[in-house]
């Protein structure tokens, strides 16, 4: 069976969920061969094997942490050269897309980004994407070279499937470009203890109607009652009420959770672009004419300062 390269997103050996989802998709196309780079790369092997990786190629070198993106491209290309895969799958993070882009140029292959599904087809993998603020769904395939596809989080279930997961060290020769962009300093993002926005099953977002940074506490309280991530509209971020890293929308993060709760968000096209593929959408807004209500499965026309705390208490009561 053909091999399929899967680029592993991990933090010090802890594999992030989108990579496990990729392994589910990769198994539809062939035998997954995972590529894990940087500190803790070898520690990923057990989790990857449990989810179907027949082989885990690992490499660690200071270059991965000291220089931007290109050393990882060099390594992925080395894996590509050693395996000759039928496809390369990469998580659709900002960095993942850049790695995939450079690899595609190098190997002369087409690139599809932000796939929300991948299926085997007669002429290679068929990727489903959503376009124009999720108003359209397209299917595409790559017509030249080895398909390189980046896949959005929450696009496939995580399915255990035991495989050998044989660990092999990958020999990487860094090219001259690898040391082009130096990472002078790195400040880890402070953990909020909440799930990562793009990976979360439930997202609770606040917008202009939250009316102040201090009021985001009630959005956070609702999120915590549901074990959810917190999002914010661009209006709230631009006003300085919540960090940009939580912005949902065209210029922020694109989310596709099981449940999206929008509070005080009118639903401008730029926001809808980032959340419209959510499975269930709920909105709370005092303006009955807000466009967000066109999208909802359930909407409450009312003052979020009344509705949200009541909802939080009701959830806590039901959870006991």
């Amino acid at each position: 069976m053909a091999e399929v390269l899967v680029y592993v997103d991990h933090v010090d050996g802890a594999v992030r969920k989108p990579t496990l989802e990729l392994l589910t998709l990769a198994r539809r196309l062939g035998d997954p061969v995972a590529v894990a780079l940087g500190a803790g790369a070898a520690d990923t092997a057990a989790a990857l094997a449990q989810h179907g990786a027949v082989k885990v190629l690992t490499a660690d070198a200071p270059e991965f942490a000291d220089y931007l993106v290109v050393p990882k491209v060099d390594a992925l290309q080395a894996a590509y050269d050693s395996v000759s895969p039928a496809a390369v799958l990469v998580p659709s993070s900002a960095e993942g897309k850049e790695i995939a882009a450079r690899l595609a140029v190098r190997i002369g292959s087409g690139l599809i980004t932000d796939a929300i599904d991948v299926q085997a087809g007669d002429e290679g993998p068929v990727a489903t994407q959503s376009a124009f603020a999720a108003a359209f769904t397209t299917t595409s395939r790559i017509t030249k070279g080895t398909p390189v596809i980046t896949v959005k989080p929450n696009s496939a279930p995580v399915e255990p499937a035991a495989a050998a997961g044989t660990v092999e060290e990958l020999a990487v020769t860094f090219g001259a470009a690898a040391t082009g962009t130096r990472i002078v300093s790195s400040t880890p993002r402070e953990s909020t203890g909440r799930p990562e926005l793009t990976e979360a099953a439930i997202v609770v977002s606040g917008g202009r109607g939250v009316n102040g940074a201090e009021n985001f506490a009630i959005i956070e309280a609702l999120a915590d009652s549901l074990g959810a991530a917190v999002g914010a509209s661009r209006a709230a971020v631009d006003a300085g009420w919540y960090p940009h890293s939580h912005q949902v929308g065209q210029t922020g993060k694109s989310v596709s959770p099981q449940l999206y709760i929008a509070s005080g968000i009118s639903g401008a096209i730029q926001h809808r672009a980032g959340m419209q593929t959510s499975k269930t959408i709920v909105a709370i807004n005092k303006d009955a004419e807000a466009p967000i209500f066109d999208l909802v499965d359930y909407g409450v026309v009312g003052d979020l300062f009344q509705v949200v705390p009541q909802l939080t208490e009701a959830i806590k009561a039901r959870k006991g």
Binding site: L111, T138, S140, I142, Q250, Y298, V300, V301, V307, Q310
Partner: protein, 266 residues
């Protein structure tokens, strides 16, 4: 030392318009107004600030060329950038470019950038239509220069570009020697509005037109037929069935909790 800055911009359909696909599954440009991609305005703004700082430093003159690949109408995007303050424009326009994908566009842009001459290439973080966000990385790969991308802060001093990148897991400070490719986010600083004087001056600024022959690119390598990817279908998402909407009569939160429980979210 002069500083030659090339800003890559895209002419995109207005996101607030009714965007859809044409029969050949490319973007239908006829039925919706186009404009300079909002995210590219940030690139033009940062280029203007970098140029101003360079000129103030007495290191010589900075010159900003704004570059686009697109149909005749794409000149509107160039004019907007010129009216903001860019010095000149290059428009790559050729009927054979219709349907070119990201791989092809990066090739055309790279050739045009090399032909124009550059020390720094500045891009927006993504287009507002395709939203792939891969072009800056592709350009750096093709040009063989460092990529300093997704910056919320950027500066150029003494032949070095520095910036701040807010990643998912960490905020990093980056540094690379020129020439380099930079992309900036919508956090980099509000883009200026063109002044009346700027709009009048833009009309006199040079716009150079290039076609595929000028760039020594074979038509078979671009356009729909030359694309590295093919769109097989585009389906309009069915309108969501109208949801339940209740007016809060004092128990809106309770009712919503009931709904969430019925959907097994609680």
């Amino acid at each position: 030392m002069s500083l030659r800055i090339v800003v890559c911009v895209k002419y995109v359909p207005d996101a607030t318009g009714d965007r859809h696909f044409a029969d050949d599954l490319t973007l239908d440009r006829d039925d919706v107004d186009g404009l300079l991609s909002e995210l590219d305005e940030y690139a033009v703004e940062q280029a203007l600030q970098i140029a101003a700082a360079h000129n103030d430093s007495g290191d010589g003159d900075a010159e900003i060329t704004v570059l686009t690949v697109g149909p005749e109408d794409a000149k509107d995007a160039l004019r907007k950038a010129l009216s903001m303050g860019a010095d000149k424009a290059v428009h790559v326009e050729d009927d054979d470019l219709h349907g070119t994908d990201a791989l092809g566009t990066s090739m055309v842009l790279a050739k045009a950038i090399e032909k124009t001459g550059y020390d720094l290439v500045v891009c927006g973080m993504a287009s507002t239509d395709g939203t792939m966000g891969v072009l800056p990385a592709m350009l750096a790969e093709r040009l063989g220069v460092p990529q300093v991308t997704l910056l919320s802060e950027v500066s150029v001093e003494g032949g070095t570009v520095k910036g701040r990148r807010d990643g998912d897991a960490a905020t990093v400070r980056l540094e690379a020697p020129l020439p380099a490719v930079v992309s900036v986010t919508d956090q980099s600083g509000e883009a200026r509005y063109p002044s009346f004087k700027g709009i009048m001056a833009a009309k006199k600024k040079p716009v150079e037109s290039l076609d595929l022959e000028d760039l020594d690119i074979d038509a078979g390598d671009v356009g729909l037929d030359g694309a590295w990817t093919a769109v097989d279908s585009a389906t309009q998402r069915p309108a969501r069935t109208a949801g339940t909407i209740v007016n809060d009569e004092g128990d809106g939160g309770e009712q919503l909790a009931g709904y969430l429980a019925s959907q097994k979210f609680i």
